[in-house]
């Protein structure tokens, strides 16, 4: 047996037996779900939200206050309905609200926020991290608003899902701001002439962005390293990792937000 035949014979997928029908259904289902994504053109549009959720959020706020959970926003007199007053894990005992969120990381003590609340976007803009700088021509406040609106839209629209809440910790929201801002710098690097000061500046921000706080704190393993490798490659003039990240991971909203 020659070398090619031996390698071919060792193919782990040689005996794979999955029906074309199952794959056709998977393709259909995946396409249907992908088609249900909120289109990028909706970014920035007004969001109609049911009012009835406000009642239990307010109830939760009362319960949280009764239980004595600290909230800097409450202390300063500024409060958004999107804020729950709950921090970290586990959930405050005895609150009994209709969801059971888990923390984004075991160490994450940040506040849970309801992304379906009417004022979620207004709140999210207030926590945009100033260190997550943006390329020239991208307005930070509009960028934050557009990305927050994108966060507020469910990735998939499930007609059977009539829940009124979707909770995220602020660390996740800030991490999404960081992630999307990083994508804008990848686009900036690609738009800049190769080897130019502009390209070098973009690659430098990409290198710094690998160590932005929420990126680091939510790294389950390998994320920071992958961004460091991406930035190193970009600094060396190699755009293969940038292209891959833009194609596979960067959301469409990164192309339009704040512009």
């Amino acid at each position: 047996m020659n070398i090619d035949d031996r390698i071919l014979h060792a193919d782990p997928a040689r005996t794979l037996d999955v029906s074309d029908d199952s794959l056709a259904r998977m393709l259909r289902d995946s396409t249907s779900h992908a088609a249900a994504r909120v289109p990028a053109s909706n970014v920035g549009s007004a969001q109609a939200r049911p009012r009835r959720r406000a009642a239990w959020i307010a109830g939760g706020l009362v319960a949280a206050l009764a239980l004595g959970f600290a909230s800097p926003a409450i202390a300063s007199g500024v409060r958004y309905l999107a804020q729950t007053g709950w921090f970290g894990s586990p959930n405050p005992p005895g609150v009994g609200l209709p969801f059971d969120p888990s923390t984004s990381t075991e160490q994450d003590s940040s506040e849970w926020v309801d992304v379906k609340a009417d004022d979620f976007v207004d709140f999210a803009v207030t926590i945009y991290p100033d260190y997550a700088v943006l390329p020239a021509g991208v307005d930070q406040s509009r960028f934050a608003s557009d990305v927050a609106t994108w966060i507020a839209n469910p990735v998939f629209v499930d007609p059977a899902d009539d829940t009124d809440s979707m909770l995220l910790q602020t660390t996740n929201i800030i991490g999404t701001f960081e992630f999307t801002a990083r994508c804008t710098w990848m686009m900036e690097w690609k738009a800049a002439p190769a080897g130019s000061e502009r390209a070098e500046a973009a690659a430098t921000v990409l290198a710094e962005s690998a160590h932005w706080p929420a990126t680091v704190s939510t790294d389950g393993g390998g994320i920071v390293d992958s961004y460091v490798a991406l930035a190193d490659a970009a600094l060396a003039g190699d755009g293969s990792l940038v292209d891959q990240e833009l194609m596979v991971n960067c959301p469409d909203v990164a192309e339009t937000a704040g512009r």
Binding site: I7, T15, V18, L23, M26, A34, R37, M247, V248
Partner: protein, 172 residues
């Protein structure tokens, strides 16, 4: 007991373009993902990215295949970083992958492959397992065609030497 399912409706242009790539893409992930049934999640994620990029899909079948495998390569990187989560879309495919009998593994070949530098190993696998030409496989890995030919020839020679030695002196 088999479950009766309704016939699939007429496919869209996107689905018609991607359908011939489903088996090759699933095989690509099954060769590289552990546990192997998670290849279904990787395939599902690849389909979502392809749909999102549908306006940029090349028209020619060869270019579309290369594009789709470029996406698959990125999704595989995400899987390695733990960024692919199990979804319900691939349940049926996941079950079929799970019950597919794993190939009888020739450990001496697998060990020889593992001894290659990562890029050379992937080059060999893309060519021999995934059926790409040398230049195409090189392009997927960011290697120029000439360099890919050189690396492929060198990798095969190294495999030949290692396997000849292993066959003469089996470890057990």
């Amino acid at each position: 007991m088999s479950v009766e399912t309704a016939p699939l409706p007429v496919t869209t242009g996107f689905e018609a373009s991607i359908a011939p790539l489903m088996q090759p893409l699933l095989a690509y992930f099954t060769r590289r993902v552990e546990p192997r049934e998670e290849s279904a999640d990787c395939l599902s994620e690849t389909l979502v990215v392809l749909w999102r990029r549908r306006d940029a899909l090349p028209a020619s079948a060869d270019e579309l295949r290369a594009f789709a495998f470029g996406v698959a390569k990125g999704v595989l990187a995400n899987h390695v970083r733990g960024r692919i989560r199990q979804g319900a879309l691939g349940d049926r495919v996941r079950d079929e992958v799970r019950v597919s009998a794993p190939s009888v593994v020739d450990e001496s070949v697998m060990d020889a492959l593992r001894s290659l530098p990562a890029k050379d190993r992937e080059l060999v696998q893309l060519i021999v397992w995934d059926g790409f030409g040398v230049a195409e496989a090189g392009s997927l890995l960011g290697i120029r065609a000439g360099a890919a030919r050189t690396r492929y020839a060198r990798a095969k020679e190294r495999l030949r030497v290692i396997l000849a030695s292993t066959d003469l002196h089996p470890s057990d």
